[in-house]
Every structure is written in structure tokens, then in C-alpha cells.
């Protein structure tokens, strides 16, 4: 008997994981997408604001003042918002619509004869779908009408101003444990985390599947199973692809947080004033929870995808076979509102304990403060146990399935054996 050789190098799964990671990370495509992602994020913040301002400056509005009182005040107030407004003679609506069609104006505002006491103001224009346009128009009309009513009631101008002084009103999200954060910010963070987890699981899980199928179609799987156990193959592939995902998502997350927190400075570069909120500070435990769910959730689904990849022998078959898994993945997306509206409710509790949805929904529920640490621990334990189980089953399917393709005699027998 010969002396067994010692392994001098890395274990199989690591050699394989490293190969999978390098093959993906080295492509120009990866570098472009990773760097372009944050640029897109910056663009998402800056472009709407800049475009919005450009739009405001060129808005041309005609006012048909049937009350005969409010026209000049509206023109002045709109001018303060950088609209170009003018009072025109009362014509019928068809003529005004023709002017919009001819692009001579962007829109027209009809002031009712009953104003300011009553009546309905109507604005029609090509910019009426922009939310900020409607907000500032509403603000202007409201202010002018209230001032006019003040005059009718013989209130002095300074009292009207005092009456119209803005009310400082904010909402804070809290479930009693923490001091509370901006409700909007907490929801957005939770939502973004959920969406990123969902995207990462779908994209990289499907990547595992595709890469298993490709190994089968170019037959490289034969030399691989001769050199390494199928379990090491599967583990290495899942870890390698997952590493790519983790790297990419981390780069994006860091750049995304920086972008949002530096939003003021960024928008300042474009001469725009940034209002409001920043990303609420995240504790290490929050990051740890997001990371744990990303890793477990990814591994859970990636193992399922790997097993599916081993069972099929072409990309087309793979498309069909993965549909049920994608459907299962979509369910938590559809249940987002259930968790967001009542993070402490029973439905949210169930959805964040079931392994198929917990990875996607629990980080969001946690960031909304809806989950107790105990609930998170139980959920992680359930997810970890299910992941282990799924990985074991997937490895078994993988072991048999990976060599099944084509023409070999006994293929159908193998398939039958696999299902039993």
C-alpha cells in the first residue's frame, strides 16, 4: 500500500468557491455593473430634483378669472414659485385646450365665479401629473384664497399671515422600545433592505442554477465529479457565487448610504436644496441581522436552485423548472404591506418565521421595530435549520442529478430512482 499523500493545498470547496468568485469578479461586466450601480443611485437622487426645477421654470400658465378678484394675486404668488402666469380673457375651454395642444401654454387655471367663498378651482395642464407641480399649485391657490377670505372677513393682513403660519408636524415611527425614527426613513430603509435581499437572492440564486446547467452542457462536470465530491462542488459553487453577491451588495450599500447622507452636498453641486431626512443610524446589531438573513436566505434558495440545475439538462428546461421557486419568492414581496402596516401583528409574525419568506421580510420588520430579539432569534434558528435540511436534500439530488443527461442507458431508471 502506498503512503497516502497529504493535501498540500486548500480544501476542494474552497478551491471551487475561489474559481467561481474569480471567474465572475474578473469580467468587465461585473466591474461596470458594480461601479455603475452607485452612479445610478446618485442619478436617482439628483436627476428628478434637477429635472423638476427645470420643469418649474418653464411652466406657462393662463388664468381664467371668472371671479374677477383673484387673478392678480394668483399671478404674483405663482411668479414667486417661478411660474410664468398671466390672466387672460374668458374663453371657452376648447380654445384653452387648443393652446395647450399647440404648446403655447403648459396649462390653465379656471377660477370659479363663486371664489373665494366657494366653487371649484380647476387646473388642466401637461404637467398636472407631476407631484411637486400639484403640491406647489395647491399651496399657491390655498394661500391666495385664504388671504382673500381674510379680506372678506375684514381680517388685517398680519393676522391672516399669523393664521396661515405653517404647522410643524412630523411623524416618528416607534414601537415603544426605541426613541423612534422618522416613519418615512424607517420604512424606506426597511423596504430598500428587503428589496435588495430579494434581488440578490433571485439574481444570484438563479446564477447558481444557470452555472450548474452550463457545467452540464459543456460537460466540464465530468472531470469535476471525478476530482471532488458533488457536495464540495455544490458548496463551493454556492459560496463562490454568494461571495460575488455579497461583494457587490456591500459596495452598493456603502455607496448608497454615503450618497444619501451626502445628498445635501451632492444636490448642492447642482444648485438644488435638499430637504429632510438622512439614513437613520444603524447599530452593529442591525447590520449583523441584515447580513445573517442575506447569507441564510441566499444559501437556502441557492441550494434549491442548485438542485434544480442538477435535475435539468438545458437552459430552457431550467427556465420552466425554476418558475415555482420564483413564485414562492414573490409571495413575500406581495406581503410587504401586511408587515409594514402592522409590524407587530400576527400575520407579520408568521411571515417572518416561515423560512420561505423570513429572510426577505424579517430585516424590514426588525428595522420597523416590530420584532423582538427573541422572535428574531427563533426565526434565524428556523431558517438556519431549514437551510441545513434543504442543503442536505439538495446535495443528494445534486449528486445523482449532476451526471444525468443525454443518452446514457438507464437514464430513466436513474430519474425514477431519484424521485423515490
Amino acid at each position: 500500500m502506498i503512503a497516502p499523500r497529504k493535501r498540500a493545498g486548500r480544501p476542494d470547496w474552497l478551491v471551487i468557491a475561489r474559481r467561481e468568485l474569480l471567474e465572475r469578479v474578473r469580467t468587465p461586466w461585473f466591474i461596470v455593473v458594480t461601479l455603475l450601480g452607485p452612479i445610478l443611485m446618485v442619478a436617482l437622487v439628483v436627476v428628478p430634483v434637477v429635472l423638476g426645477r427645470v420643469g418649474d421654470q418653464t411652466a406657462r400658465v393662463q388664468i381664467v378669472d371668472r371671479s374677477g378678484r383673484l387673478g392678480p394675486a394668483l399671478v404674483a404668488a405663482l411668479a414667486a414659485e417661478k411660474w410664468r402666469a398671466e390672466v387672460v380673457a374668458d374663453v371657452d375651454e376648447a380654445e384653452l385646450l387648443r393652446r395647450i395642444k399647440a404648446d403655447r401654454i403648459d396649462g390653465f387655471l379656471v377660477v370659479p365665479p363663486e371664489a373665494p367663498a366657494g366653487g371649484a378651482f380647476v387646473y388642466k395642464g401637461d404637467n398636472a401629473s407631476a407631484e411637486h407641480v400639484m403640491r406647489s399649485l395647491n399651496h399657491v391657490v390655498y394661500g391666495v384664497v385664504l388671504s382673500a377670505r381674510g379680506e372678506v372677513l375684514a381680517l388685517p393682513a398680519d393676522k391672516v399671515t399669523a393664521l396661515l403660519a405653517p404647522v410643524d408636524f412630523t411623524t416618528r415611527h416607534t414601537t415603544g422600545d426605541t426613541e423612534g425614527t422618522s416613519g418615512l426613513a424607517a420604512f424606506i430603509v426597511g423596504y430598500v433592505v428587503m428589496f435588495v435581499l430579494y434581488m440578490a437572492i433571485v439574481l444570484y440564486g438563479a446564477n447558481v442554477l444557470r452555472s450548474v446547467v452550463q457545467e452540464k452542457t459543456n460537460r466540464v462536470v465530468e472531470i469535476m465529479v471525478a476530482a471532488a465530491k458533488p457536495r464540495a462542488l455544490m458548496l463551493g459553487k454556492i459560496l463562490g457565487v454568494g461571495g460575488v453577491g455579497l461583494l457587490q451588495v456591500t459596495v452598493w450599500a456603502v455607496m448608497g448610504v454615503v450618497t444619501i447622507n451626502q445628498r445635501g452636498a451632492l444636490l448642492g453641486l447642482f444648485g438644488v436644496d435638499a430637504g429632510g431626512w438622512s439614513v437613520p443610524p444603524m447599530a452593529a446589531v442591525d447590520v449583523a441581522i441584515i447580513l445573517a438573513y442575506f447569507l441564510l436566505g441566499y444559501f437556502f434558495y441557492a441550494a434549491i436552485f442548485a438542485a434544480i440545475g442538477a435535475m435539468v439538462s438545458s437552459e430552457q428546461e431550467a427556465q420552466q423548472a425554476q418558475t415555482p421557486v420564483i413564485l414562492i419568492l414573490v409571495i413575500p414581496m406581495l406581503c410587504v404591506q401586511l408587515v409594514a402596516n402592522d409590524p407587530r401583528g400576527a400575520v407579520a409574525e408568521v411571515l417572518t418565521q416561515v423560512p420561505f419568506s423570513s429572510a426577505i421580510l424579517m430585516p424590514m420588520r426588525w428595522s420597523l421595530g416590530g420584532a423582538s430579539p427573541a422572535s428574531v432569534l427563533v426565526s434565524i434558528a428556523i431558517l438556519a435549520a431549514s437551510t441545513y435540511l434543504v442543503a442536505r436534500l439538495a446535495a443528494r439530488i445534486y449528486r445523482v442529478g449532476i451526471l444525468m443527461y443525454g443518452k446514457r442507458p438507464g437514464l430513466r431508471e436513474l430519474w425514477r430512482w431519484l424521485r423515490y
Binding site: 497516502p4 493535501r7 498540500a8 493545498g9 478551491v15 471551487i16 471567474e23 466540464v220 472531470i223 438507464g410
Partner: protein, 331 residues
């Protein structure tokens, strides 16, 4: 590595796929340091056997032991190199990376794997292609990369499944040289093929398998000698008159078991013959009888059959026997 040890011992191995018995109670032994050919027609169970030796599939019954006591699997993997019938490489990997990667899977340290990979590329004349992607190489070059990936870790046991199928003559020679080098370095080479010419040129030992069963195994030289002793004579007669005089002797079933026209005979009908002697009859007796009958001979030769002939005959006989057994079994 002990001289005279066994590189592979397969004992009573059976593998079924559903109702189909792919390998049926097969046993053989491969001594260390030989070139051993597993021969058989398509679907005979060659690949299944090699896959069991490589722990890609597990036998239903029986045992496989490698290199004097190792079980197939992780323990043996660093000592074994396997070239599967279905070749495949990662198309996006560079040639050197691909080879070194396989070396690492077989337990080499990364730096060592790279160094040996470079040496192999040099040896196979691919040095300037080391940093090219596999998909950019020609088919022949890809095959060489595949050989290198199989042997980079200098395995004591090299297993090649149909290594010559799809090779051009030049690469077939390269592979033959590589196989001989491996043997010269004291390693064992086990391969399967259905190409008898390749096997005859290179094998010392053969194992013939058909329909999942062993037909024959042993040293090629012994098998050939035995086949020759079974008595086969190539005969060329001078003229038609000689054929007439020889006729009674050739028809004598006590002397000749079978007579058939030799393959590719051009000297006229019935003048070139191949004679299978009856059991217990040696060639000298036929020669004496022919001389006694005044048959003029152009040629009288005791034939050593080619491996091809032995193969066709033995596998054909086996197939015939199986076919004869089947109806009774089915009824």
C-alpha cells in the same frame, strides 16, 4: 510503490440502473506499473466500471480497492487522475489556470500547481497559449490541456476513458507518448477503448467486457499465444486442381473445424482459405495430410490472430451465447 502490488482490484462488482444490469459481477486486477486496457463494444459497461473505480458512482455490490488498499473517493483522489469520456473544460478559464485548478482539486498547493501546469504546457508545446482562454484554443489544444489537467498531480494511477476517441493522428501520437512516459515513470495506466489497434500497440494487459460481463482478461501476449494455439491456419493453394485434392481433407470435421475464404482473397475462388483446426489437431498434422494428398501450397501459416480478431470472435461468441440464453429466460 511496491513492485508486484496491485494498482486496482475490482472484486465482484455489479451496477444496475433500474432493470438494466450495466456491470454484472465483474472482477479484475491491474498490477502496478502496467498499461491496462479495458476493451469492449459500445454500451458494454466500460465507462460504468471506470466511473465506479473513480467513485463517481457507487457499485451496488462488490468492492473496489486502489493502490493496495485505498478506497475510491477523497482518500484516493490525490493519487488518481481521470480523463472522462465526455471531455469538458471551463471555456472562460485561461489554459494555465484551468490546469492548475485541477491540480489544486487533486490536493496540490497553489504555487506547486502553477509550476507544474507551466511544465505541462511546455511539454505539450502550448507554452505561448498559457494565458489564452480555453474557448479561444483549437480543439486539439483543448485536448492537450485536458491531458495536462488529468496528469498534473503525477498520479500513481492514470485512468483514461476512451482517450483516443476524437483525436487527430498527431494528438493520438502525443497521447501515446504521454501514456508510455507515465509507465516509464513507474505509474499505472488504465484505459478503456473500443479501438483495438490502439490497444494492441500499447497494452500489456487487457480486459474484455461485453454486456456488462467479463469475457476475457490477462496479459495480451498470453492471450495471443493461447489464441494461436487454438489453431488457425492461413492457407493458399496453387491452383484449382489443388483445391479439388484438398477438398476431402478440408471437409473432414475430425481435422478442420471450419474453413472459410480468407479476407480479401484475390487469387481466384477458394484458393486462399482460413482454416480453424478441430480440437486436438495441431497444424503439423494438417500440413502432413495436405502434403500426403499432393496439394501444392503457396502458403501455409500458423496465424496469430490480431487483437481485433480475438475481440470480434470472443465478443461475438459471447453475444451469440447470450442471445441463445435469452428466449428461454424470457419464457
Amino acid at each position: 510503490m511496491s513492485a508486484g502490488g496491485l494498482a486496482v482490484r475490482v472484486t465482484g462488482v455489479t451496477k444496475r440502473f433500474g432493470d438494466h444490469v450495466a456491470v454484472d459481477d465483474v472482477s479484475f486486477e491491474v498490477p502496478v506499473g502496467v498499461i491496462y486496457g479495458v476493451l469492449g463494444p459500445n454500451g458494454a459497461g466500460k465507462s460504468t466500471t471506470l466511473r465506479m473505480i473513480n467513485d463517481i458512482i457507487a457499485p451496488d455490490q462488490g468492492e473496489v480497492e486502489l493502490l493496495g488498499g485505498l478506497r475510491p473517493g477523497p482518500e484516493a483522489a490525490p493519487h488518481v487522475g481521470f480523463l472522462p469520456e465526455e471531455r469538458g473544460l471551463y471555456p472562460k478559464m485561461r489554459a494555465l489556470e484551468m490546469i492548475a485548478f485541477m491540480g489544486e482539486l487533486r490536493g496540490l498547493a497553489p504555487r506547486d500547481a502553477r509550476r507544474r501546469g507551466e511544465a505541462w504546457l511546455e511539454r505539450l508545446g502550448l507554452a505561448q497559449w498559457r494565458d489564452h482562454k480555453v474557448q479561444d484554443l483549437s480543439k486539439g489544444m483543448q485536448q492537450k490541456v485536458q491531458f495536462a489537467a488529468t496528469m498534473i498531480h503525477e498520479p500513481e494511477l492514470v485512468i483514461l476513458d476512451e482517450p483516443w476517441s476524437g483525436l487527430d493522428p498527431i494528438n493520438a501520437d502525443v497521447l501515446r507518448d504521454v501514456v508510455r512516459e507515465q509507465q516509464a515513470a513507474g505509474r499505472t495506466v488504465l484505459f478503456s477503448t473500443h479501438l483495438m489497434e490502439q490497444a494492441e500497440q500499447i497494452c500489456e494487459h487487457i480486459f474484455i467486457i461485453a454486456r456488462g460481463r467479463k469475457v476475457l482478461d490477462g496479459r495480451l501476449a498470453d492471450i495471443k499465444r493461447a489464441a494461436a494455439a487454438e489453431g488457425r491456419v492461413a492457407l493458399a493453394l496453387q491452383a484449382a486442381a489443388d483445391h479439388a485434392r484438398a477438398e476431402p481433407l478440408l471437409a473432414d470435421r475430425g481435422l478442420c473445424a471450419a474453413v472459410r475464404p480468407a479476407a480479401g482473397s484475390g487469387a481466384g475462388p477458394g484458393l486462399e482459405l482460413e482454416v480453424e483446426l478441430a480440437a486436438g489437431v495441431d497444424a503439423q498434422r494438417l500440413l502432413a495430410a495436405l502434403c500426403g494428398a499432393a496439394v501444392a501450397l503457396r502458403r501455409f501459416e500458423v496465424v496469430t490472430p490480431s487483437l481485433h480478431q480475438i475481440f470480434v470472435e470472443r465478443v461475438g461468441r459471447e453475444a451469440a451465447a447470450t442471445a441463445a440464453r435469452l428466449p428461454r429466460g424470457a419464457a
